[in-house]
Symmetry: C2
Subunit: 244 residues, 2 copies
């Protein structure tokens, strides 16, 4: 109360005013240090920060500028426990298959342990953001046209760019975040838990809380391995490990 | 040649060295001024810039860290013309339906005129980046598990976050870019044009060139209208037009 100094490391208790300037993180730094940060503190997160992150998410493009997104912010423990139950069911299937496949792959086992932590502590994560899309067009917007591949890819292309904005903005302010879909394996059940009507589809969940895990550099395949020129399989930049 | 000064406005002729520092644009500025910039110059774009944008795209998350993306960079005019033909076919269907629906909506008509420009000039756009996903798991990664909603949403959730990184990075360096799917309406045809095997699915295209159109602020629905608390339909922040 004596000073107006901005907190250096944002965490439990930080307000939007404390962290707003962190959203000015250099774009490439945010991208190059984005990780799935699943281990988070149970402390509440300022609603204004969550709204600001969603506001930035909504700056992403949507097909025909439809802006058909809806975001359900879950803070109620009873609702989180119901989603946790579904998450645990899907994880018991994926997890056991995954462990067998992963074998001795240490990186994969680390990932799976982090997911296990998330499953076990799901109801303690302060905020779950469920990203949804309306499936009925708004008036004045393009209706369904019977080109199935286009319909499907355009649908998801109208929500995941916003989810990536949400993840990058969370990274910038040091809120742990990740992208998960397993708790939504039964759409019927997810709709019933969240009161979502049939005209809206829950697409993924971003669990958010003040980071216990750390953001930092990630490793990827060399860019030249995944870039093809004009024809698939023609990879003139193979051997180029970095564009810089 | 006399000076090493950085060009103030990047455009035709700019190299990666000229624009690299622009990738440090403040994160929220990049998001808040991202638009679909469809009108671009026909001049070539430095390959190194394209590779750097894709490298940043590859920093996005993927399901189970599968990194199953492949990017086909199309610069060959003959290939672009084949994709243009498919784009025109889909547009003749969508465009006529769309114009009828749009009625007098000026914003929608502006969008449609920009798409029309893109269709007509598709072969002159210097670079088309076709974002693809392999559908077969790499060894050590999770196989298909029979939860159809999860499988579909996780699939697209493993490519569109990277596409959003690509779009944000393009915006930062003033390369016009947009997200389109119409030229891919026939997956069979797209595979044949690009030599893509059956184990890989083309998901969307990002046409790229030096911007003729301008990036700038966008308008969106107020955040309080699309955010629900705990149950869909419970909107305590309705009336909040901005989080700040």
């Amino acid at each position: 109360m004596e000073t107006n100094e901005t907190k250096v490391v944002p965490g439990p208790g930080s307000t939007l005013a404390d962290v707003e300037h962190l959203l000015d993180m250099p774009l490439q730094q945010a991208m190059m240090t984005q990780r799935a940060v699943r281990r988070v503190h149970p402390d509440p997160v300022d609603d204004a920060i969550i709204l600001r992150l969603i506001e930035l998410a909504m700056k992403a493009p949507t097909g025909s500028n439809s802006q058909s997104w809806e975001f359900v912010v879950v803070k109620d423990r009873a609702v989180k426990e119901k989603l946790q139950k579904r998450y645990r069911q899907a994880w018991s299937l994926y997890g056991s298959v995954g462990r067998r496949i992963a074998g001795g792959d240490e990186k994969m086992l680390r990932l799976m342990n982090a997911v296990k932590w998330q499953v076990d502590n799901f109801a303690d994560i302060p905020v779950l953001i469920v990203a949804c899309l309306r499936t009925t067009p708004r008036s004045g917007h393009l209706p369904y046209v019977p080109l199935p591949h286009i319909a499907t890819t355009s649908f998801y292309g109208s929500i995941y760019p916003s989810v990536q904005n949400l993840l990058l903005a969370a990274r910038a302010v040091n809120l742990g975040a990740s992208l998960i879909t397993l708790p939504l394996w039964s759409v019927t059940s997810a709709r019933s838990i969240l009161g979502i009507p049939l005209t809206v589809t829950p697409v993924c969940i971003v669990p958010i809380g003040w980071a216990r895990g750390r953001y930092g550099p990630t490793t990827r395949r060399p860019v030249g391995e995944v870039v093809h020129l004009d024809q698939y399989g023609n990879r003139p930049w193979q051997g180029v490990s970095s564009a810089r």
